[in-house]
Symmetry: C2
Subunit: 432 residues, 2 copies
């Protein structure tokens, strides 16, 4: 039996935005390549989107059209329901459930859906012997779900890290290179169309937090717990901090970190300092990077486009080809019913911290700050005081490894010294 004569795998695509059209283009352009690689043709039988009259950059005339994605999901001539609508409630969820109920496999790029309902959907899929695939939901074109679930399956995972929101990394990089304040670059990004309709999904770290929670479930065999992700966006990062951190040899990144500790599962999506010379530190602009650490493999770094038509469609098609080739795994790498409910770590692992404070020009001021830090159990690794023409001067401190609690204790004690102006800034330095 040749590839062309084998039974085709039939896709129904819901959502014809950038990514949906990207998938249509690949299926059309690479029909022969895909058939050669998967041993059978992959075809689109039906599509669905809200507005049929919209001008789209692909010929859809050979596909059945469904206004209702739930109807698409249940069609007899669809084997795989490809969900590219987005949103964690409403149509995307309804249609995904309908597809599973109708005995279809599902491929989705929807990180919000999985972050909020991944466990229930995975259980539903496995109860009916079907699978949900979601390579496109995390880090766009980077095949990180596959690397973590399959390639590193022989490892106990130690830590997963990532810069997984290209817009945030673009903003931070642009602030640094152009010397512009956050608000200006935020507005630029909005005008360039880089921001979600609700920009807090990007700059508040929510989108990246969704991705992190999915990676954590696979890495640690736990149920997805997006609500346990400690989220802090980039809105409070100043151009000053970017510059000062640079002076000390660091870059500021919105960095996701998930690790299993003695205190439970730690999931953070927060601004962090990383060494400027590290792969994460060198990451510029909208590119994504994921770092996977396993007990045998050591550190694996994956880098690529985290969004955009081609990269995201590439990830969707990777999943589709897996299904066409008969490669099927439980959603999170092991049966959903075997995933354990993790205890959320309430404190983060010890780390060095970057502290910036505005020190008044008074005798003994620095000694007072040092005493407060010492009393809180924080020891100083490096310190830099800047020249000043004013009555106060910025002081930068890189601490030795300590706890966030100790840092917060010190910050709470600064006002009583009467030598620190305003609110000190403390940013974790992640060892990468």
């Amino acid at each position: 039996m040749t590839a062309a004569s084998a039974s085709p795998l039939r896709l129904g695509i819901a959502g014809l935005g950038t990514v949906g059209i990207g998938v249509v283009k690949i299926v059309q352009r690479h029909a022969d390549l895909i058939a050669a690689r998967s041993g059978r043709p992959v075809v689109i039988t039906a599509v669905s989107a809200r507005d049929r009259t919209k001008n789209r950059d692909a010929d859809l005339s050979n596909y059945a059209w469904e206004v209702d994605p739930v109807a698409l999901a249940a069609r007899d001539d669809v084997d795989v329901f490809v969900e590219l609508m987005g949103g964690h409630e409403g149509a995307a969820k309804d249609a995904t459930e309908a597809a599973l109920a109708a005995g279809k496999d599902v491929v989705t790029a929807n990180k919000a859906l999985l972050a909020h309902h991944g466990q229930a959907l995975a259980e539903m899929a496995e109860a009916v012997g079907h699978v949900i695939r979601f390579e496109a939901a995390v880090a766009g074109g980077i095949p990180v779900i596959k690397a973590l679930t399959e390639g590193l399956a022989g490892n106990q995972i130690r830590r997963v890290m990532g810069v997984m929101n290209g817009t945030c990394n673009y903003i931070l990089t642009r602030m640094e290179t152009a010397g512009l304040p956050y608000d200006t670059v935020f507005e630029e990004a909005r005008q360039l169309g880089y921001l979600e309709a609700d920009p807090n999904l990007d700059v508040g770290g929510i989108d990246a937090g969704h991705k992190l929670s999915i990676l954590a479930a696979i890495a640690f065999g736990t149920k997805v717990r997006f609500d346990d992700v400690v989220l802090e966006g980039i809105g409070r990062i100043s151009i000053d901090d970017i510059r000062r951190a640079g002076d000390m040899g660091y870059k500021i990144k919105l960095l996701g970190v998930a690790q299993m500790t003695g205190r439970g599962l730690e999931q953070r999506m927060t601004p962090c300092l990383v060494p400027a010379s590290s792969p994460l530190g060198q990451l510029q602009g909208g590119t994504n990077m994921v770092v996977l650490e396993g007990d045998s493999v050591g550190q694996i770094v994956l880098r690529g486009a985290g969004a955009g038509e081609g990269p995201t469609a590439s990830a969707v098609m990777g999943d589709v080809l897996d299904l066409a080739r008969g490669l099927r795994l439980p959603t999170f790498g092991q049966p959903a019913t075997t995933l354990v409910t993790p205890v959320a770590a309430v404190t983060s692992a010890p780390a060095a911290y970057y502290l910036r404070l505005q020190l008044m020009d008074k005798p003994g001021a620095l000694a007072k700050v040092a005493t407060v830090l010492g009393d809180a159990g924080v020891s100083i690794s490096r310190m830099r005081q800047y020249g000043h023409a004013d009555t106060s001067a910025p002081v930068l401190i890189v601490t030795h490894k300590t706890t966030r609690d100790a840092i917060d204790l010190a910050i709470a004690a600064f006002p009583a010294t009467h030598v620190v102006e305003g609110e000190p800034v403390a940013i974790r330095i992640e060892e990468v």
Copy 2:
């Protein structure tokens, strides 16, 4: 049925060096994790190595011992033959063939075997409905075979690049950072045990060339053609060139490049200049990096340890878990009988070149060199002449994009100018 009660996948491991023992340790340490992830236990039933009396860092007492790997490969209680002996002839080949003939799947870390006999072995495996897996053969712990074969399966691959011999990258990095000549660092590497018994496998580019030929077959759907790889080792790289290239903003790497061109399949494993600020340029020491470029996904960069017990065993176990989970693909991603025989490109794609020549201190010398280059069709992008106390001075030239033929034409014409001393050095600048 629980994971523990499902039928176990039984491994027979041939070769108990660093990697073999690494695999034994993972199977023993992570029995529960592996069973949870693959839905069934993975066990070792038998092992084989030349010397049974050798002291090894693992308890092998529960495994049957075979002196002859061919006998191991045919045992009834072995489902997967794990070949970790190395070498492309003799025992490794005989035992792999025996395993396939006996109806076993094969997992191997043997790049030489696949580079020389991959096509025949893949055809043999597919004729009996079995598979050969070899993630560990290329770039150690980096799951690059999986990323290319599966994750990027929806892409037409444009180019594959990689620094895939850690020893060479260690030598080049060490020359640069310590300012030591090649011979000294080569000797250091030998004493540190970084070099193969035949060091030409490393520094001659053969080992890395094996890996490149395997990636090219998957990327372009072609038969493995190691003999078509243009090989040039690092033995002629001088500390001078490393420094001068650095002055111009480049690093020198032993870089593998495979791309399908209008002139045929180009496979090169040669020293190249890459921008110091690129991921490849920033790669230090023994770490490996592979760059995959697809028409949809753009550029994906994968980085990690290319050798060593843990990373290589991690890759072997990734393959083993795939088999335990029932994930089975043809060896090179599509049936071996459908792989086409590529035409080897006899010339490399146009590129900029770095030229270093020793120019005599004579009136009009530089003009003569520029004329020769111009006559050969090579135009100059940047030029730097160094101060000198001697009768000649080094001149560095970065050309605009040109062909290797044009460069060779110019080099052949330099002697007639009587202003160039010695042999000019020309190194390709790869656009990364």
